[in-house]
Symmetry: C2
Subunit: 209 residues, 2 copies
Amino acid sequence: MSHTIGVRQAQKQKTRQALLDAGLRLLAEQSLSSLGLREVTRVVGVAPAAFYRHFRDIPDLGVALVEESLGSLHVVIRAILAEQPGAEERIDRTVAVVERYVRENPAHVRFIARERHGGVRAVRKAIAAELARFAAEVAAGLREQPVSDAWSDDDVLMLAEMYVDHLVMTASAILDAADDDDAAACDRIAERARRQLRLISLGRLHWTD
Amino acid sequence: MSHTIGVRQAQKQKTRQALLDAGLRLLAEQSLSSLGLREVTRVVGVAPAAFYRHFRDIPDLGVALVEESLGSLHVVIRAILAEQPGAEERIDRTVAVVERYVRENPAHVRFIARERHGGVRAVRKAIAAELARFAAEVAAGLREQPVSDAWSDDDVLMLAEMYVDHLVMTASAILDAADDDDAAACDRIAERARRQLRLISLGRLHWTD
DNA sequence: CGTGTCGGAGAACGGGTGTTTACTGAATGG
DNA sequence: CCATTCAGTAAACACCCGTTCTCCGACACG
């Protein structure tokens, strides 16, 4: 085993990735439901018919993009949950990590924010399922913090879902500001996010009354 | 003055509204950036060229839909802000009003949630501007509550923006559940929203420390 | 080395698209 | 009452679309 995979499969995966990249690029200025198959193959420099060797149709490419986009987010979330110090430092680090992630993966963030409520059912469901997994992961992380000792599992999940939603909204807001090259707006949004997280954190501390 | 407007203008506004209605209906299963001009006129039963008597292009129809959709939301927000009783009752009433609004205006809610981060810049900006106005309105309402006495204006606005975002997210989530005819999921989401609002409310009470 | 596999090319198909043009006929207003 | 305005029509424009088909040629493998 562990053969170096054939030149054949390597080339195939290469054009498949090229299709995904081209799709993601084109989705910067339109929605998935208006993305054309020919449009994608044209950017890659490949015949329209070649598309079918990799995806059944455009929605199928969409769900592949969901996996690609949210796969990289897993790393971010684990990084945030692994933070050790106090609440305030944790919040600062969290927002900093999000800011950095948005700057480094703008297209993925835009795609998720756009298609989360977009016009393609299969993609919406794929995103919802993945975000639910994230929420569960965050909930598990929250469980281990002493603050959550007296909490019910339901309430911990409720809090985790709130964090995930807030994360997506914040990332999308930073991205919108970054699109306008408005660094000041970015900072303002980050500061707002920090204060919102602080507010939630305060609510957490007094939940069990 | 105060002439009853001519039969001419009345008919024009009638087909204009028909175009808006048809557009909104078609947007239930696609995004604005894939909505076709001919598609809309076909539903209305009017010649494609007639479209140009009312809108410059599809994005233009989109911003008109934004005004229509968020205009009706103004009423809802005022209703929520006018609530008198304690925090708990206010939260229950708020969520109940949102549930009712979603059930009565599903297409408008879906449109806003979908196009808020959608592929048409002009529409995104129109929605953002309108939601900013809502946030300002909510902030003004919060200011008048005794709880906000020691708060800075910036912090009140931050809280208001959080409420607005939370409202949109909740409405969209309820709608998704309603689309699947899953009444149980609707109730679960409403209950989650209530608890999240309670958490925020708790944070509010202890903000000034 | 020869045979089979398969990613991609190229062309053709029917059909849909946005936009412009010249027009019709009914409401309008002096 | 008659000239004007103008919402809506019908046709034509050039173009883009998804999908299918046949074919090619480089890799895979016994």
